[in-house]
């Protein structure tokens, strides 16, 4: 009788252990899904991306008769990265008049004017990415120089937006942390 009771106790402990392990697995999956690498979708950043592609840039191909928008600059950077803005004087490598360099500089200025980044601020850094997706094969990054500022351990928020080109689409994404 005593032995049987002991067996039942052992059985009960095993059942409890199995249930506890299942619970822990569920809990870890739940926590991981919340703290994934994907930043939380932000309406503010989405609005920023919508607006920035329309903004007039400093780049002109016809001696300041017309100026390209940032959206056009993104398309030009993908199509012909070494094309030069005729109204900007050339400099030794890296050439500041190349469309991709102008694009990176304009994006950096506009992002840093839109948020206050710093150690005492809720936002410490950002990362802007532009990748071209032709529909076949892997997407490629179109910006040679990184448009980013180091992030701390802050929560990441972000958004992305497609910029369409005749031969595919460029996905621009901004993450603020």
């Amino acid at each position: 009788m005593k032995k049987r009771a002991q067996e039942e106790m052992v059985g009960f402990v095993i059942v409890m252990l199995v249930v506890a392990v299942i619970f822990l697995v569920f809990l870890s999956v739940y926590i991981r899904s919340n703290k994934g690498s994907q930043p939380t979708e932000s309406i503010e950043i989405s609005q920023f991306l919508d607006s920035i592609v329309e903004t007039t840039s400093i780049c002109s191909f016809d001696d300041e008769f017309t100026f390209l928008s940032i959206g056009d600059l993104i398309r030009e950077c993908q199509k012909e990265p070494i094309r030069k803005c005729t109204n900007i004087p050339s400099t030794p490598t890296p050439d500041e008049s190349e469309v991709c360099m102008v694009l990176a500089s304009e994006l950096e200025k506009s992002i840093e004017d839109s948020w206050n980044f710093g150690v005492d601020s809720p936002e410490t850094g950002y990362r802007f990415l532009a990748s071209f997706d032709s529909g076949i094969g892997a997407s490629t990054n179109i910006l040679n120089s990184p448009v980013s500022k180091p992030c701390g351990a802050n929560v990441q928020i972000g958004a992305d937006k497609p910029v369409f080109t005749p031969n595919g689409k460029i996905i621009i994404s901004l993450t603020i942390c």
């Binding site: 009960f12 309406i43 607006s51 920035i52 007039t56 506009s110 839109s114």
Partner: protein, 157 residues
């Protein structure tokens, strides 16, 4: 004896599942408050952004710019001489409205902010990014700058 053992087993299991449920709901409820705040913020931002799509603000010279607001219209409405703002203040049901330029590629920098409806009290404002469109005589074309629209929606008393 067996009934006692079974009762003990059932009670232990009930306590265990009760604890699991408590932990689960505690985690869920702690996230709920932040989710509500985030959704309220997003809704307010969308409302502010919707203002830029009203006929009084929208830029119609270009058909493919949904986020653009016409700065000439904004300046005209804000001009006290026209007296337009008294009519619109109650129509929009907002206490404060301001349009600010954030970034421009223009060498002379951003144009000053335009306060359409002046702030009369300490109000919490919501902000949305917009594109500010305005004719530029220097480039003989429309210039599009990055801007923000700040508004305080009137609360129901």
């Amino acid at each position: 004896m067996k009934i006692q053992q079974m009762a003990f087993m059932l009670v232990a299991l009930m306590i265990f599942f009760g604890m699991v449920a408590l932990i689960y709901f505690a985690i869920n409820l702690s996230n709920l408050e932040s989710q509500v705040n985030r959704l309220q913020d997003q809704e307010a931002q969308e409302l502010v952004r919707k203002l830029s799509g009203t006929p009084e603000f929208i830029f119609t010279s270009s058909t493919d710019c949904s986020s653009c607001i016409d700065m000439d219209k904004v300046e005209r409405i804000a001009d006290p001489i026209t007296g337009l703002i008294d009519k619109y203040e109650n129509l929009w049901n907002i206490d404060y409205l301001m349009v600010e330029c954030i970034y421009t590629s223009k060498a002379s920098g951003c144009s000053p902010e335009v306060e359409v409806i002046k702030k009369t009290d300490q109000l919490s404002t919501k902000t949305a990014f917009v594109t500010l469109a305005q004719w530029d005589d220097d480039i003989k074309s429309f210039r599009y700058d990055l801007g923000k629209i700040h508004a305080s929606i009137r609360e129901v008393e």
